[in-house]
Amino acid sequence: GAGVSQTPSNKVTEKGKYVELRCDPISGHTALYWYRQSLGQGPEFLIYFQGTGAADDSGLPNDRFFAVRPEGSVSTLKIQRTERGDSAVYLCASSSFGGDTDTQYFGPGTRLTVL
């Protein structure tokens, strides 16, 4: 079946602009995660959704970052007033129910470049 998809695959924006990154999880997966991967680093956790609610947003770096999942499926990561330091690959993952035996399946990522 279809895996996790993310759009756009690449996004170039200017400092100070607003961007939205979209994630389509595997159908039926209730758990959805966002991670950020900076150059030369491993992915770092941003936020976790269980259904429509953000169960853990402790990884969001500051209040310019926000994410929603209004219908418990598609999620959008929103970044306001982008800064050059926000440049990274943003990864989305989903899993069946978020349990401790779940496997997280990752999308291909969105590469964000802030000029």
Binding site: A31, F45, Y48, Y105
Partner: protein, 115 residues
Amino acid sequence: AQSVTQLDSHVSVSEGTPVLLRCNYSSSYSPSLFWYVQHPNKGLQLLLKYTSAATLVKGINGFEAEFKKSETSFHLTKPSAHMSDAAEYFCVVRNYGGATNKLIFGTGTLLAVQP
């Protein structure tokens, strides 16, 4: 808190020779450990996972890893490298407790396979 340390940032092997990618973990609890692989411009793919069952875990593409509690290690091995194995490999531990089963990634090991 849980963490993983990947001991080598780069490993180079010749095709047909064994692969060893080293990972040490830190956890106050019995950890769930994973190895993910990331090929260029592709999403993270799960190679294998350890969740307190058999200590020798077999994964896809001929990879395996052994959980050694006494050494706090979870090294990834493959008897014979193939050109297609060239990629970045991440050792990962699952967060224990709290509202999320987020993954905590190491910094990655870039595997090069020489012909």
